[in-house]
Symmetry: C2
Subunit: 208 residues, 2 copies
DNA sequence: CTGCAATTTTGCAGTCTCTGCATCTTTAGG
DNA sequence: CCTAAAGATGCAGAGACTGCAAAATTGCAG
């Protein structure tokens, strides 16, 4: 059903994107961001430097953006979120929808370890990574607002939920990396969400 | 007691930083990031382009970094946090310490409105702004770990708390900007923290 | 297969960011 | 005043990134 096996053109396109992204991650993880030029990356990926910029708006993006279809993915996440039965609370529903995408961290462990290494070691990459793609933020806030029946322009809740969950995801990725990916990222995410939805009580003592 | 009135040298230095930061914010808010060059900013601030880079590592930083003494400020925040009596829960203590710095948003309303406008309209600026200064993250996690008696290398809690609070702060700033700064940022922050520490229950209904 | 149209890839020129280094000014303090 | 330290500049150069037009590929119909 999915995987419509697009034509050769599309396949090559995705392949090039992937080649650029993975070599970028690898090289930068090895040498550090400023010891790698766009020329290095494109050469290693077998395309011209100019082509590099046909795929990524900046060197940083090649390291941070894992998928060529980021837009569609987030779209699917939103749909899944909106399709979740009302019995499930909004935060839970959102997290569940997020998990699908998040699973690829455990699946592509090596690549993600390299990516996190690069990100942790470079402030510029760190900020790019921490932020969700600028364009996907608004639709997600919109979706949360719709499900909760709130006004995205007036109520703080939708924005707050998205931002804090984003923060949780980042915390999880950091921890995951510090453990060399030896703990399931998904499990860590579950743990984080429990804490978060419990109001961040101090592990040792009382809450609030 | 404070305000030791440093020498002329120091005063000029802060003044230049301030001039560069405010003109950068103003120009970028007016024309957009890529319609403003470093030369424009430095010219308007009355210094050479080379000097600009003595103050900021990048054009973006001039728009995003409000204070020349960012490091000391975060240091003070940490100290205040650690000095808070144990009766106050860790999350509360941290938020209270943060508030001191956060107050300047309401105090310098105009400048912050310009800054938020620039940030909202430009993805690059957005990511830089959303992330806390890379160097201040570790000390803060360290501080949280110390107060809670947790191991920052092993426990998820310190990182999670910092990340989610950071997310909350961002959400608040966005809302504040969308309301044209007509609502007190501090009040919004309080509201956000209440929601967060209550486990993000859906405003209309049940929680968790 | 063949040829045409739509896509991609490239090369090139040019602008702008950012850095290292040497030099010139200004301030701090005798 | 005079000198040393700190700061401001100018200059040259590496690299990121963009617009544009030419060249190579791929999709498809005939």
């Amino acid at each position: 059903m999915p995987e419509p096996v697009k034509g050769l053109r599309e396949r090559k396109r995705l392949e090039t994107h992937r080649a650029l992204a993975t070599t970028a991650v690898r090289l930068v993880a090895e040498r550090g961001l400023d010891q790698v030029t766009v020329e290095d990356i494109s050469a290693a990926a077998g395309v011209s430097p100019r082509t590099f910029f046909n795929y990524f708006p900046s060197k940083e993006d090649a390291v941070v953006i894992a998928h060529a279809d980021a837009a569609e993915r987030s779209q699917r996440t939103i749909e899944k979120f909106l399709a979740t039965p009302k019995e499930v609370s909004t935060p839970r529903a959102f997290v569940d929808a997020l998990k699908e995408d998040f699973a690829q961290v455990d699946e592509n462990r090596e690549e993600w370890l390299g990516r996190m290494k690069a990100i942790q070691e470079n402030a510029t990459l760190h900020s790019r990574a921490v932020t969700m793609n600028h364009d996907t933020i608004a639709p997600m806030i919109e979706a949360i607002a719709r499900r909760t029946g709130l006004d995205p322009k007036t109520d703080l809740y939708p924005t707050l939920l998205l931002s804090t969950l984003g923060g949780a995801v980042n915390a999880v990725l950091m921890r995951w990396y510090q453990h060399d990916g030896r703990i399931s990222a998904i499990d860590l995410l579950d743990e984080a969400v429990e804490m978060l939805l419990a109001g961040l009580p101090e592990p040792g003592g009382r809450a609030r």
